[in-house]
Structure formats: C-alpha cells, structure tokens
Subunit: 296 residues, 2 copies
Amino acid sequence: MPSSIAAELVAVIVSVDEESPRVLASGAPAALPHGPLEPQHRSLQAGLRAWTREREGVELGFVEQLYTFADVGRSGRKGRTVAISYLGLTRAQGESGWVDVYDLLPWEDARDGVPALASQLGETLVGWAGRDGERLERTEHAFGLGDWAWRPELVLQRYELLWEAGLVAEHGAGSTPSSSTAPATGPAMLHDHRRILATGLARLRSTIQYRPVIFELMPPDFTLGQLQATVEALAGQRVHKQNFRRTVQDQLGLVEPTGETDRSTGGRPAALYRFRSEVHAERRHVGTKFPRPRTR
Amino acid sequence: MPSSIAAELVAVIVSVDEESPRVLASGAPAALPHGPLEPQHRSLQAGLRAWTREREGVELGFVEQLYTFADVGRSGRKGRTVAISYLGLTRAQGESGWVDVYDLLPWEDARDGVPALASQLGETLVGWAGRDGERLERTEHAFGLGDWAWRPELVLQRYELLWEAGLVAEHGAGSTPSSSTAPATGPAMLHDHRRILATGLARLRSTIQYRPVIFELMPPDFTLGQLQATVEALAGQRVHKQNFRRTVQDQLGLVEPTGETDRSTGGRPAALYRFRSEVHAERRHVGTKFPRPRTR
DNA sequence: ACAAAAGTGTTCGTCTTACACCCATGC
DNA sequence: GCATGGGTGTAAGACGAACACTTTTGT
C-alpha cells in the first residue's frame, strides 16, 4: 500500500520583458509560486492553470511538467515532501511579482559573451575538482572550458556543480558559501527553488530550439527584431540576424505579415508579424531553430 | 500546508535481446514494477536502484526520471495516487519476468517498414477525427500519413490518440475497445502502465539519438553489427549500415577494438569492440546519432 | 564457386553559417 | 549626411545519405 506523503506543486512561470526573462517569485527569501495539490482538479496541468489564474492573476499559455523532486530534506519540514514542478509561459507581463531571471542566476546571461562571473566560477570549480577527473570534465563541459564551447542550455549542470562545491546558497539546507574567496552567486531562494528555476530555464532553452513556444511569450503583433530579442533574452546568447529572419520566415506558415509597420525602432520601419493561429499544436513541432553565431 | 497523498514509484526497466527490446513486467494484467516510496532512501534514484536490485535482482545502469502521473482516478483506488515513473536500462538479461515491448505495443516496430497494424490504426483514427482539424493533423503527424514521415519517437503521441479514440484497453478505467470494428491493439496492462511504458519507449528512442546510452544495454564486447541490431530493435527502424559504422567510429574515443574477432556471424569475422570506460559521463553527450535510410 | 556479412572510399545534395550588400527612416 | 536598424542574395563548408565496391569467412 502506497505511503502517505506531503505533495505540492511548484511553478516556474516565465515571461519576457523584451530585454530580459522574468519569473514569478515573491517573499524573502524569494519563493516560486507553490502550494498543495488540490483534490478537485482532474489533471495536474488543469490544476496548475486554475491555480495560477486565481492566485497570481496570470493566464498560462504553454505548460509542461519539469521534474519531481523528492529528496529527503528538500524542504525544511521533517520527512519527505514531493514537489512536482511545472514550467509555464505567459505573455501577461502584469505589474508586480516578476523577478529578473538573471538576478537569480547571474552567470547565465552570455549575450555579451560568457560573463566574467561564469569564467571566475569555472576557474574556482577547476580548483575544487582538483585531481578528480570526472569533476574536472563535468566542469569544463558545463562552463565551456578547454575544448568545449559554452552551451546555454547546460543551466542545470552548471547549477549542480556550483551546489556540490558549496558555491550557491540554498535556504535552510547546507551552509552559506565562504564569502571571502568565492565570487557572489546571487541570492538564495526558498528551499531548493533556485534549483527548480535552473531546471526550468534549462528546459526552456532546450525547448525553444525545436518547438515554437517562443510565440507564447510575444504580444499579438511583433517585429522580427523583437522576436529575435526575445529569443536572445531566453537563450542568453546572440543569434545571427540575417539567418534568424530567414529561418523564421522559411518555417512556412508559422508567421505572416500584418501589413502594418512599427516606426519606433530608430531605423527603417519594421514590418509587423503575427503568429498564424491556424497552425495546430502538432504542426508546431517544426520549431524555431535559431542559428547561433559560430563563436570560438 | 501540503496535502497527504498516496505516492508510488513505477519503473520501466528495459534490456535488449539482440532481436527485440524487453521490459520487466509481471502478473495479469501485466504490471510494471511498482511500489511505495521507501522513506529510508535519500534520493528517488538511489531508492529505485536499491529497490530494483532487491526485489527484481536487476542492477541498473542508466536511470532517468520520466514523468509524474497524478490524474484523479489513474489507479483503481479512490482519491489521487501520484506515480513517479522512471526509465532504467540494464544489460542483465536474467531469465524470467521480461516481456517483449512489441507484444505490448504491437504497432511500434517499423523495422520492416511501417507495420500494417499501424496503417490500419492510422486510417481508423482518420475516421474518428472526422472534421476535427486538430485531431486529423495530430493523427497524420503521429502516424506518418499525408506529407509526414513516420517518426519512431512519437510513441506517446500515437498511444494517446489511440487512447482518446478508445482503441486501446486500459485495465480498470475506461471501456474495452469495440472488438468488432477495431484491429487488435495488444493486451491491457495494470491501470495506466501501458501509457507509462509508451512514455518510456518514447524517451528512450529520443535519448539514443543524442546520448550513447545504448552501451548500457550491450555486453562488454560486441561487434558493430550487434550494436546496430540493438539500436534498430529500440528505434524500431533500420539504419544505414555503412554510415552507422562510420558514425560510431568517428565519435572518436567512444569505442575501441578489443583485437578479438567474432567468427560466428555467418560471413567474414567481425571485429569486437568495447566501450571505452575512460569516457566520463559528461563527455558522453556527443551521442550515438544514427543515420536513417531515407525512406519516402 | 558462391552466399553472407564485414568493411572502405567517394559522390551528391541539403542545411547551416557567414559574408556582402542594399533599403528606409530619424536626427 | 550619417547613424541605425530592417531586409535580401549568395557563397563556403559541414554533415547526412547514398552508391559502388572490396575483403574474409563458411559451406
């Protein structure tokens, strides 16, 4: 007979502010929206949507299950708490409650090259790894050292290395990083919420490469420049402009021009596009592949 | 405060018998290994390994969380049961308890072309979809109809369509498929275990394309022909021989010749290879991409 | 000899990345 | 005029798929 266990939902709700990705979080230490499973909802996804609408006033577009965390001691409570985490996307950029993702994971924004903080952390981890070949290889792989290129989607691998090395703070469990030697790695979040956030960002960065979920984050009408800026904000990486435009337009039928233009861009007016809603969910597997500039 | 809920683990444990993939299952209706979360295990993965070793006598290699099922009524029990499902790979081909995956999902083996059963089911689903454009497009996409190619990894999409149309039996919930018109779609499994199996096969077929987990299923020494047969058994699809060999060998450092040969192949003796264990887990992201023959 | 499977060399075409360049607007 | 971002054509190259062919065994 199954054991009785405390179970909760934790949500990584993401929107984009043209410049940077934002996540719903509140309190001190910051906490992702979370709460118990409500028995009245037939499916978890439906429950999450209702719950986010009622409690946060946010209507979700794309929703995807992330991971179920159940390690003993993951919450402060004694005994085991199972957390089923979800990723949700919304274009509602409602006023308050949003936190810049890169304030919480400050080494993850590589739009202007790999940030100095990431390089410092990589070096620190190389020292931590010492003679341990596996640790060293994981570090070089995750942080783009040696022969490896920086790969934006390895968010979780980077976070887990930092956590193992005691370089990131987690509220409650574990010790504070030794602030003398180590660089500042951003604020702790409640329990393991920062790990859950890292899981969500990793998944999102992977997903936008092969499914056009990016449109869930855009306003109804947008320019290709805005679309590119949104992709770059999430990916934490620049993409090749000309090829990005082509890729999007060649995904025949995914977007269509509205006929209007946006003159506020500071240069030539940009044509506005909209996502073609006739495109059904399954057709959308074609994805928003984006060409990365060959850095290195 | 989190609600108290019944929680269990369900495992999709896979091995390959050169000819066909096998999964651990037992009983009537067949059930995947499952049981309550044991409070003594710190992490779920560790728990699953210990649990599989003790109860099934199987030592797992690769382990990965699949999905957490929590729909009301998914188990026979009243109220909600949360099932955290895992995929595990092993080379231990121990005697009993193994069931051929394609006995349970008989439309999924496309090694000799898309099976007649899959085509029949596709046609039946087209009828079921009727004027519903989204259903029709999902069906054509999942079953490789119209302009779409058959994609082996869409296991779950196919299963869910069949389930929605009432064409697969699930034990307890739902009705039996109307046996007069519909083709036979294999035996029911306990509760939603066949759906969980479909989730596992889908994940496995995706994973082998970009991570060399295939080696977890091979004996220590193997020929490239055996390796190819194993990939084909899982993928449910033939691959191009010459390019497969090259791809494997070009993944420099992934395999190395043992110097021995296997003369039992019926033709020219085949060189034996082994997986290079010096290759650490993180390096292994390079993957076992396999070239598919261009069918269509 | 011939069947059968192992193994090698090379061509062809597509898709990714990059480069070069023109266009339309505000200041 | 010139800075700024929008927008198009085309070439270099990597990679995937296919073809043609040789090698080594068992019967």
